[in-house]
């Protein structure tokens, strides 16, 4: 069985085969024989060449979160969106026009108005979460096209607070 995942922004292939109650894990040229035991929904015990690994994992809509020996890994399924980032510079410049909150929180202040010119690093808004205020700055020079949030609104990192346009 072959699988494809995105890890650390790169595509990786894994293949699993079952042989005599053990799994053969193949990654590129590397191949290991592992004794795998599901301990619970979120825990796998894995014996590999005498070494014992305890893997903790859980998935949400976006990714699988994995912890091994204290290290954290985030693995996604390849999708149209994640493959998009291969587009490179253009995409990231485009992204800079959509001002989003860095984390879920509450809008405290909007410093700009529609049609207002903004310079690079100008503070556009303040969002608060868990009693911490965070300033949201513009990463380019441009003009405010549209403001989609008002002080007091609860916002998600997916929501666009302010649309900018280059002049």
């Amino acid at each position: 069985m072959d699988y494809e995942f995105i890890i650390d922004g790169a595509l990786a292939e894994v293949s699993l085969d079952k042989k005599e109650e053990k799994f053969i894990i193949s990654l590129g040229k590397n191949s290991f024989k592992a004794d795998i035991c599901w301990i619970s929904e979120n825990v796998i015990s894995l014996l590999l060449g005498g070494k014992s690994y305890c893997l903790h994992l859980a998935s949400d809509k976006k990714q699988t979160h994995i912890n091994i020996n204290g290290y954290y890994f985030y693995i996604k399924e390849p999708s149209d969106e994640t493959l998009d980032f291969a587009g490179g510079e253009q995409a990231s410049e485009k992204d800079a026009l959509f001002i989003k909150a860095p984390m879920p929180g509450k809008v405290i202040k909007i410093y700009v108005k529609e049609k207002q010119d903004v310079h690079k690093n100008q503070t556009l808004a303040v969002v608060e979460a868990m009693k911490m205020e965070n300033e949201i700055k513009s990463s380019l020079e441009g003009q405010v096209k549209k403001i989609n949030a008002a002080p007091g609104d609860l916002v998600d990192p997916d929501m666009v607070l302010i649309d900018l346009e280059t002049k």
């Binding site: 995942f5 890890i7 699993l16 994992l57 979160h65 994995i66 879920p104 929180g105 009693k131």
Partner: protein, 502 residues
């Protein structure tokens, strides 16, 4: 002793206080906001009262509602935890008026130590060394500018009403003062319901050393040694320990005596903390009194064997201190790491959401004061502290090793935390050497990113994701049962019959 206590807080500290009450046979009444129905403190308590909407101002900070909850449930006392109403003199006064015992200092002492300016004046008068800072009126913004001139830059903007780094700003030049004041006031207002701020001299590269103090209602005062809390980020403590590597026996005794004097001068009772800055030349300056149980109180509990919450309750119930200064002892070494819901890779911004999985560290000398569980929601409304990991060992070196192992054993999946950062911090050679000054993080971790992950573990992670997919496929997309699981706990028991027939 009290029969029933209301715990006016949430999260790990509410759980900690609830357990203490239950050990004493006292009924523990929790309060909860709309965001907290499924929170751990509600499950742990004997009773629970709904107190309002999710924003703290409408629930945990709402004095009327909290007082009413205590009266409705017949609570004789209120434990405020830390944060929220813990250092609100108005709330303490209200408790006094309503005949409810506030488990903390009396309102007069609270008002004095809560007003950083008045308390600094009182201490100066009593001959206690303080950091140069402003003494004047707080209304006129222009006065701050002239005060800053007198003190000399860099200066620090601090909230008059609270601690914990909320509302703090360092200002190096006049041009930055006004925005810093504004931001500080806003944060102070949000955190403490009071926007007054003041300025003081910013001492560079000091250590933050504080003394835990207990004072009963009969004038007996003891200190339970120091905690060093120099490891801070954005003026927020992250790692605390006792003893401080910077203190020799003589200096400890001297500072402890001053701490007790501060408490006596303030007319303070119950548990409190006297904060000092210790400079390079081992000169120490009184900073302020934290008129509450501190987040880092377990460090003191582990090195002294004194249960501070128990002491708070007993003092509030009118008991005399059962020990004297001479009988107290500092044994071994304790370190605390605060586990925050924050993303070190995203500028340490708060990280809220669902905890998909939690593995609590445990073992000899390991204590985990925890406010979360597998499957819980971490709301955006409150402090990002999820849990505290505290270890004790015979000496500092062993405590560091124990902490590193416990941090590796602590797994939080679903939201981001500072655990990996803490591991790097405790494992840092400068930390091991005890070179802990308040600029430790700035100096040693100016731009932290997670350690390089071993390539073999990355491969195992990919294999795990594949097992996971494979399992889902086998299970047809539903919850997977372990291969060994023969029966599902959910398929059995209790047929229902419609219409009420037997």
């Amino acid at each position: 002793m009290f029969k029933k206590i209301l715990i006016a807080n949430r999260g790990e500290i509410a759980v900690r206080v609830i357990k203490a009450c239950q050990e004493l046979g006292i009924t523990a009444t929790a309060v909860y906001s709309e965001a907290d129905r499924s929170s751990l403190h509600v499950q742990s308590a004997d009773e629970a009262v709904y107190v309002g909407a999710a924003p703290a101002g409408e629930s945990y900070l709402n004095i009327d509602v909290i007082i009413q909850a205590a009266k409705d449930t017949g609570c004789e006392a209120i434990h405020p935890g830390y944060g929220f109403l813990a250092e609100n003199a108005e709330f303490v006064l209200r408790c006094e008026e309503e005949g409810i015992v506030f488990i903390g200092p009396n309102s007069k002492a609270m008002k004095l130590v809560g007003d950083k300016i008045r308390s600094r004046l009182a201490m100066e008068k009593a001959g206690i060394t303080i950091i140069p800072g402003m003494k004047g009126d707080l209304q006129d913004p222009s006065k701050y500018i002239s005060e800053a001139e007198i003190i000399g830059y860099p200066v620090m903007v601090k909230a008059s009403a609270g601690g914990g780094g909320k509302g703090m700003r360092i200002v190096y030049k006049e041009a930055d003062l006004r925005p810093a004041l504004e931001a500080g006031k806003r944060e102070a207002k949000a955190a403490f319901g009071n926007d007054s701020v003041y300025l003081e001299k910013y001492i560079e590269e000091p250590r933050h050393v504080e003394f835990q103090v207990l004072a009963d209602n009969f004038g007996n005062t003891v200190h339970i040694f120091e905690r060093e809390c120099s490891i801070q980020r954005r003026h927020q403590k992250i790692v605390e320990e006792s003893p401080s590597v910077a203190l020799e026996t003589d200096l400890r005794e001297k500072m402890g005596k001053v701490a007790c004097k501060v408490i006596q001068v303030s007319g303070y009772n119950n548990a409190g903390t006297v904060e000092f800055l210790l400079d390079k030349d081992k000169k120490f300056y009184f900073l302020e009194v934290n008129a509450r149980l501190q987040v880092e109180h377990p460090v003191t509990e582990l090195i002294s064997g004194i249960d501070l919450v128990l002491q708070q309750i007993e003092i509030a119930a009118g008991k005399k201190l059962a020990f004297k200064q001479k009988g107290l002892q500092q044994k071994g070494h304790a370190i605390e790491c605060r586990i925050y819901a924050e993303d070190p890779q995203n500028n340490f911004l708060p990280s809220s959401g669902k905890v998909l999985f939690l593995k609590e560290p445990s073992g000899p000398g390991v204590r985990f004061d925890c406010g979360i569980y597998s499957g819980c929601d971490v709301p955006v409304y409150y402090d990002p502290i999820l849990a505290k990991l505290i270890v004790w060992a015979e000496n500092r070196d062993k405590a560091c090793r124990r902490m590193l192992k416990a941090l590796a054993d602590c797994v939080v999946l679903g939201i981001k935390t500072n655990i990996e950062f803490l591991k790097d911090l405790i494992g840092h050679p400068r930390f091991k050497e005890g070179k802990t000054t308040t600029n430790f993080i700035q100096k040693n971790f100016p731009d932290w990113s997670p350690p390089e992950k071993p390539e073999n573990l990355k491969e195992l992670a990919l294999a795990a994701a594949a097992f996971n997919s494979q399992k889902s496929s086998f299970q047809g997309g539903g919850y997977g049962a372990e291969p060994k699981e023969v029966y599902s706990p959910w398929t059995k028991l209790g047929k229902w019959s419609i219409g009420g027939g037997k």
